[in-house]
Symmetry: C2
Subunit: 327 residues, 2 copies
Amino acid sequence: MAERAGVGVGTVSRVLNDSPGVARATRERVRAVVDELGYRPSAAARRLSLGRTMTLGVVAPFFTRPSVVERLRGIDDVIGDSHYDLMLFNVETPEQRAAALTRFARPDRVDGVIVISLPLADAEVRALGRDGVRAVVVDGAHRSLPHVTIDDVEGGRLATRHLLEAGHRRVAFVGDREGNPFGFGSSQRRLQGMSEVLSEAGLELPGELICRGPHGRAPAHAMAAELLALATPPTAIFAASDVQALGVLDAAAEDGVAVPGALSVIGFDDVDLAGAAGLTTVRQPLRESGRAGARLLLSVLGDELATVAALPAVHLVCRRTVGRHDG
Amino acid sequence: MAERAGVGVGTVSRVLNDSPGVARATRERVRAVVDELGYRPSAAARRLSLGRTMTLGVVAPFFTRPSVVERLRGIDDVIGDSHYDLMLFNVETPEQRAAALTRFARPDRVDGVIVISLPLADAEVRALGRDGVRAVVVDGAHRSLPHVTIDDVEGGRLATRHLLEAGHRRVAFVGDREGNPFGFGSSQRRLQGMSEVLSEAGLELPGELICRGPHGRAPAHAMAAELLALATPPTAIFAASDVQALGVLDAAAEDGVAVPGALSVIGFDDVDLAGAAGLTTVRQPLRESGRAGARLLLSVLGDELATVAALPAVHLVCRRTVGRHDG
DNA sequence: GACAGGGTCGGAAGCGGTTCCAATGCTGCA
DNA sequence: TGCAGCATTGGAACCGCTTCCGACCCTGTC
């Protein structure tokens, strides 16, 4: 913006930023020249000068999980309406995980990050704080970080009670491996809710009925196949996610086990896939959690006074994969 | 990086960028100090100085279409391994569409953009060129832009032939509205393939069997309901996307029309949902198209000599929604 | 021994904004 | 009429990096 408007650089800057202290006439003249020239200030220069990037990052085990996509939608709902740009960092390997924190989540790139489904170590959180990168966690928690989570334990209870009410007594669990670097404490907590309900009902949960492995449809398929091959196979399986429930369904189909006739299956999340597959599941507010996380980050950054509304509670969505069992 | 290493700023820069002209001893000394101090150069300053952002943008009607998510996966596969950051811009309204081009796709934010499923006007392409923002198009085409597309017409033929071979003679089409600002020439081209095959077979395609409306499951549901309410309803429906096919399935379920007994349905894309719903569909290489688009952009930017491999051709995936019709 | 020329290196300028401070012009009041 | 004080404005300094140019040191050559 050559000072073709006949004013100083300072004045142009003030006009563009709606800063006070510019006479109305001047302001209008500058504006006229600005859109006559189609002038757009350089975001790059602005970032350097301001020391803020006006960019927010999302770090997530991204495309491998439909639940994450749904959360991203929620995040975009909010960020899209703000003045921030949205940057993505996908994590699928330990190297990427490290890179996300050391190279991507830095103040010269982003003002803040939303971390999805990734447990953060204390040292990592400290590093973030030291660098001045604000962070919030979605589907996870850290003592010193704002976070949004759902009641996974309750979700586990809901699912299990539903199975029990349908008459099942021998139910198995298929979930994520504990303590993996990309984990999912959530899987473990869902199992916990399950255990609670089971033991309240005076039922056993033998180790052979607890399967944990890598996330994904195929691994779940394999685990379910083992369950079905047991001398006394379970009559119902609770999967810690819909994707895994689909894997269980695959195994049942392969073995010719009727669902819900011979085997009942219940999932968790209620992603689109679950609806299409007619899967009974525990619904968690995925998109809303993304929105809440984004709002949280904006408010931490001081950009929004907005209150972050409470998330809807988890609840059961009954479809066609749970049937009565009278044993 | 205070010049604690006892060298000038120029030297530090040269070391960090592996530029020549630095004595090996000096280079090593600087490197030592760098990681002793945990020093990281500021991306913001670098961008300003370089005049490049080392950031790539994706502009897409993002979260509303699972096919787009799949393409994004492919894009991330490639960009994640490059030196570029990935920025996202979601388009769902005409305002967002305009903003994407005037505010987001600018040289101070991104070096290049991948435009997905959005038809670009000549003026828009010119503006991009003038600003020096490189662009490639995925699922779309523009005379003067590199692009990756599949053979939609052939896909339409494939689907229709399959239906014809199953004995159907009265088949309908459910697709996207023509010429919408977020369109999808692809829908139209798929219809074209359908028409070709139909007329080669000496069959009619009356206007009442061609339904076009907004993209999405619900609108497709509504359109299919109208088709089913016809005096002589179609015995098969070709939907221009899986999402729309799902909507057709919804309508059938609502009306108690058996699929594939009384109605056959075939979709397009083969997204996860299709598999879960047992939908017969035409598979297009979504993820690969994302990868190809990203490679194309990198090569346009001169960052990659990589050849962009040809995409696999579209082909039929037969599942459970197409049945024989003997009329 | 003087000098040309290559290898290294230091640091000023420049990228394009924001912001702070000083300068200017007016207004109102004593 | 003189001056304090506010509104407005211009522009230097600065953000942290890259790059270009000039300086310096050494070597080899005649």
